[in-house]
Each structure stands twice: as structure tokens, then as C-alpha cells.
């Protein structure tokens, strides 16, 4: 590997598409110089960065080992596969796609089971009656064990399931499941229901940094550039640009706009002629436009932003904190 900085991204499926468009939005075009079937790529116009296309679970393994610097993968897999995950990796940014909840689901017929305390009791009653333990089908062995242990449940057995976990109770290979769900419709179709306090993890795709990767100066520089572009895109997406010019634009009015709508003034206060540029959360744009016009603005122009580059880079700051060992 000649590159000093490696980003691991999913090699297939919906997550790959989402990942590529996420990077593209941030101005990071992932390219495969040797063709679409290649599992090694680069970022167009950036040197020294290698993109490794891997399966989601390989990404987690390599992050844990520190064999890649950054990886894009689901929080569920990270927490399942890496014991004490926060000591090995740092979650730099939640990406807003790949949502999935890891939940405890039981047959709908279990009308006596509403919460984990019920499940605890049923588990013990089940063992006493059947002289065997209730079986939980899941691919999330560690998440399940930790969650059940936190709820004091001991009378259960885990049955590892590679796929179609939700079918296990009907097939008679388990009594209940721990599985991922987005809408819950697959669970419902299999006559299962999620227990009230049975959400183990609300997961989504994350940009994850390996604390133990080789973070030399070159790798840090690459990370700074990549995270700068992602942060600029994050900020651009979080705001609309609002421009106006009117004499009544004073500190008191700006104070009110900041307070009521979360507006920011990226270039400071109004010019002597009352020209002002504001950044406003998208859902507050209309209310802000009304406020400005009520106070004398003739026209208010609103535009989408492509990038907002700031001197501070919150994502890189997070990374630096994660890879710098705390002072003794």
C-alpha cells in the first residue's frame, strides 16, 4: 500500500451507493482507475488517498486493527464486533442514512410480554417449565448479551443466525429474536412485535476513525482535507444563505433573529449601507424572511449553499482528540 491514508467504504449494496453520493456531495469523487470491478480506488484530484472497497464487517475489523484510517460503516456492526468499541474507534460523523434499529422482538401472541422485565420473568418461567432455556436468534451476539445482562436476564441461550433471523420463531429454531429493523414491517409480517424498552441501539451509517491507525503527518494532512470538505458540506446543508439590504437592520434585530431562528452571521454585522448575509436553518427561512420584511427589507434573497468552509473544522478537531493520547 503506497498510500499513507486509507478510507474503507462498503463494496456493495445500498450502503455503497449512499456512501458514494455522500462523498460526491462533499466534493470527494471516488474513482476506480482500473475499472468498476476493482476493489481499490482513489479520490479524484487528491493524492495520497486510497479508497478500499470492503464488506461492511471487514471494514469494522480493519478499523479495530487500525489497518485503515477512516471507515464508513453502521454503528450496529462496530458496537457488535468490537468489544469496548469507543476505546478502539471514534465516531466522527453520523451520516443520516443507513438507519436501522437493533431491537428485541417477541411473538405477537405473547400478550403478557410488554417490556424487558416481563421478558426476564418469562425467561425464568420458561426454563422452569421446559427444563431448557429460551432461545434468542440473532447475529448480534455481543449486543444481545450485554443488553440482556443489563436487564438482569440470565435464562436464555443465543442461537447465532446468519440471515432471515425474523423467521426463526415460526420455524421453531428460537423463541424470540434480536434483529435490525427500519420500519418494523418485516417483523410484523412474521408475527413479531418489538418490546417497549427493547431498542438496543438506534444505528445509522457513521464515519468512523481508527484510533490505532498509523497517524503520521501525511495521514493527518489527508484527513484534514477530507474532513474539511465533509464539514463544509455538512454546514452548507444545515443552512440557507439569506441576503437583504435595509436601513432597519441593526444589532437588536439580528439578536432577535439569532435567538428565534438559530440564524448565524458568517461575515459579521450589516455594512454601512445595511447589506447583510445570514445563514439560516432551512425550516426557518420563511419566518426569517417575514421578520426581515416587517422591519423594512424590500427584497430577501435565499439561496442554497454548496460549501461553507470555516477556519475551525469540528470533524477534524474530533479526530485529533481521538488520536492524540491524553496527556499523562
Amino acid at each position: 500500500m503506497s498510500a499513507s491514508f486509507v478510507i474503507a467504504v462498503p463494496a456493495k449494496g445500498r450502503l455503497q451507493e449512499n456512501a458514494e453520493s455522500f462523498f460526491a456531495r462533499a466534493g470527494l469523487e471516488l474513482v476506480k482507475p482500473r475499472g468498476a470491478r476493482d476493489y481499490r480506488g482513489t479520490v479524484a484530484d487528491l493524492h495520497g488517498i486510497e479508497v478500499a472497497y470492503l464488506s461492511a464487517s471487514e471494514i469494522v475489523d480493519l478499523l479495530a486493527q487500525g489497518a485503515v484510517h477512516l471507515g464508513l460503516t453502521g454503528e450496529d456492526l462496530v458496537r457488535e464486533k468490537i468489544a469496548n468499541a469507543d476505546a478502539h474507534v471514534a465516531f466522527i460523523d453520523a451520516l443520516g442514512f443507513g438507519h436501522a434499529n437493533v431491537v428485541v422482538a417477541v411473538p405477537q401472541a405473547w400478550i403478557d410480554v410488554l417490556n424487558m422485565a416481563d421478558l426476564d420473568d418469562v425467561a425464568t418461567a420458561f426454563r422452569l417449565k421446559h427444563e431448557r432455556k429460551m432461545r434468542v436468534a440473532t447475529k448480534y451476539v455481543n449486543l444481545t448479551r450485554n443488553f440482556f445482562s443489563a436487564h438482569g436476564i440470565t435464562d436464555y441461550r443465543i442461537v447465532e443466525s446468519a440471515g432471515a433471523t425474523e423467521g426463526a420463531p415460526a420455524a421453531g429454531t428460537a423463541e424470540l429474536v434480536v434483529d435490525i429493523t427500519t420500519t418494523g414491517s418485516t417483523l410484523t409480517a412474521n408475527a413479531l412485535k418489538v418490546i417497549e424498552d427493547g431498542v438496543i441501539l438506534r444505528s445509522q451509517a457513521n464515519l468512523v476513525a481508527a484510533r490505532r491507525a498509523h497517524w503520521n503527518a501525511a495521514a493527518r494532512d489527508c484527513a484534514r482535507i477530507v474532513l474539511d470538505r465533509i464539514a463544509a458540506q455538512n454546514r452548507a446543508r444545515a443552512f440557507r444563505e439569506v441576503r437583504a439590504r435595509f436601513a432597519g437592520c441593526d444589532d437588536a434585530l439580528l439578536g432577535e433573529a439569532k435567538r428565534r431562528f438559530g440564524v448565524e452571521t458568517p461575515f459579521g454585522g450589516p455594512t454601512s449601507s445595511g447589506m447583510i448575509t445570514l445563514h439560516c436553518p432551512p425550516q426557518q427561512v420563511h419566518a426569517l424572511a417575514s421578520l426581515l420584511r416587517d422591519n423594512g427589507a424590500e427584497n430577501v434573497a435565499v439561496a442554497k449553499l454548496d460549501y461553507v468552509f470555516s477556519r475551525t473544522n469540528p470533524l477534524f478537531a474530533k479526530l485529533e482528540a481521538a488520536i492524540t493520547p491524553p496527556a499523562a
Binding site: V106, A117, T154
Partner: protein, 384 residues
Amino acid sequence: MTTAGTIAKSGAPDPRADALLAAFERSGYTCVAPSILQPAEPFLDLSGEDIRKRMYLTADPQGRELCLRPDLTIPVSRDYLASSAAGTAQGFCYLGPVFRYRDDGPGEFLQAGIESFGRADTAAADAEMLALGLEATAHYGLATPDIRIGDVALFSALVSALDLAPAWKRRLIKDFNHKSSLAHDLDRLTITPSRAGSEYQGVLAALERSDPKAAHALVTDLLSIAGITAVGGRSVGEIADRFLEQAALGAQTSLPKEMRALIERFLAISGDPDEAAAELRAFARDAKVALDAALDLFESRTGFLAARGVDVSRIRFSTAFGRGLDYYTGYVFELHDPSARVMGQLVAGGRYDGLLTRLGSTRSIPAVGFAVWIERLASLGARP
């Protein structure tokens, strides 16, 4: 580190360990060496899923889960059940490596121990285990370790004598081995159960006042109308039973404070076995709960201990003492270094009368035994 560099692993255990094993054999126990590679199932089933993270697991080509044995109690028990001697009184001793992942030490370490099956003289067998455990520490120059004992059967007897809903009895017994949960349960016993806000509250309240048989038939019928038979291994009848049990529990939201106070008073009893027995007799009299059978056994055991030359006044008994393993059913004990040079128990064991049934025996076979942590004992001597 507790591991002395001078001790070789499984190939050549240290001479004192060999001498200890020979002493066990002289006491009438047959030396056995179960296979190191074991099916994982019985360990996960009997010790709980929590042990999975400490086990070295693998699979054979057929996909069966195998493990390096994390203890010897289950392997010795399985070999005994598979032998022609199953069901008869037999005693076994062993010395060999066990495998458990640990943060603070090697995953392979030596254990010696004894398993005694099928003896009807319960109190004498219990006492003999502690006496042999003391012999083990004496082999390593520690004649007077701290002796801690408990008796799970006393707590079980108390709970079954109390006027409590079945759900609470189940939970208390289960949680006895998990001390933080038990304290939590005692808190919950006096507060409104979480069910109070449930969507079925009205139905449960209505059913609670109705004839139990009719209510059961109604719930069973309703589930059948919905086209539900056995889903997820629980029968409709089972679901209905517990649904109605919840109704009964719902009415018990204002459980008398006396009940909790009683359990707490019981769990506070400790001392040497003679003091504790006297206190427990007084407690049973006051609380009007029948603990006679369990207490008779307790006192008889103390008598056997004294007869074996154990200084009973040095034993620290506590009603709250359990060993964190579900399969103990009665007497449990641990021996510790009084000057705390070594963390953790040096010798530990107890009675597990239910284990052989859960391993597949068709009849109930009483069992008691203990294990010795060889490296811990050896490191005592290695220190000044």
C-alpha cells in the same frame, strides 16, 4: 501477576499439585482426566450466556460449537453420567488445565478439584468437601485461610414459605446469585409494577375478580380465535397462565412493607455457623416461616465439620453469600488468603443437586464438589 514463573503448564504440573492429587486419591477419590475439547452447549446452558465471552470457542465441520473446557465440573459430570457407574455413589478428583479468557492473566490455568456424586449423607458430604479444601490450602502452607460459607437452600426455603406471587418467587430465587439485581428487586417489591400503565390494565383488573378457570378459558379462546397456537415455543395455555398471573400481581402493588423488611432481615444474618443457626431459628419463629428442614441440615453439617476437626468458630457464614452460578442448590463455600496477597478465591465449591438432571439424567442425583486454583496457591508460597 498471580502466575509463578516456575510452574510449567499442563505437561508437568508442579510437584505440590501432584502431591495434592495423590492426597485426594488416598481419600478415596478416583483420578479422572476428561477431554479438554468439550461441546460448548452444556456450559452455555448451565453457566449462562455471560460465560461465552470468557470461553475459547470453535466449531467442527458439522457446525457444532466446541470449546476448551472452562471448568471441570461439567466435563466430570458428563463422563460420570455416560459411564456404567451413573447413579451410584462415586467420587472423582482431577488436576489439569482449564481455559477462560481473562484481562489480567493467561487464558490457560490449572485447576484441581473433587466432584462427589450420589451420596445420600448430604451433611457429611458437604463437610468433607470443606475439609478437603482446607487440606488443599494446607498443602501450600496456608493452614488457616478465610472460610466463607453460604447456603442457597435457606434462601429458597424462605422464599417458598413467603406469601408472594409466583412471579416474585421466581425472580427472587433467580436473582439471589446476582446481588445487585436482588437489591433492585427488593426496591421494586414495594413500588407499583411497570404494568400499571399498560393497555391491558382494564382487562387485567376485570379478570382479576373473575373465576380463574373461566378467565383462563377466555384468554385461551381469544388467542385461538386470533389463529394463534404455539408460537415461539410457548403454548397458548402458558401465555394465558402468565397473563392472568400478571392480573394477580397487578393487585399486589401495595405489597406489605413487612415482606421486604423480613427478607432484608434474613439477608442480614451472618456470623459463625452456631450463632447464625440460633439467629435463624429465632427469625423463623418470629416470622412464622418454616425453615426447619433447611436449618436441620445446616446444623447437622456444622456438627460434621466440627467432627472433622474444623474450627467452626473461624467460619464466616452469611445468608446473603452465593457464588454467582445458577447451578448451586445448597451449601456453597470459598477459601481466601487472609492477608489478601492473592485476589480471588483459592478454593471454591458447593452443592449442585440439580446439575445432573439438567445434563440429562432421568433421576435426581445429589452432587457436591469444589475446585482449587493451583497458580493462586502456588503464588502464595512464591512471595515473601
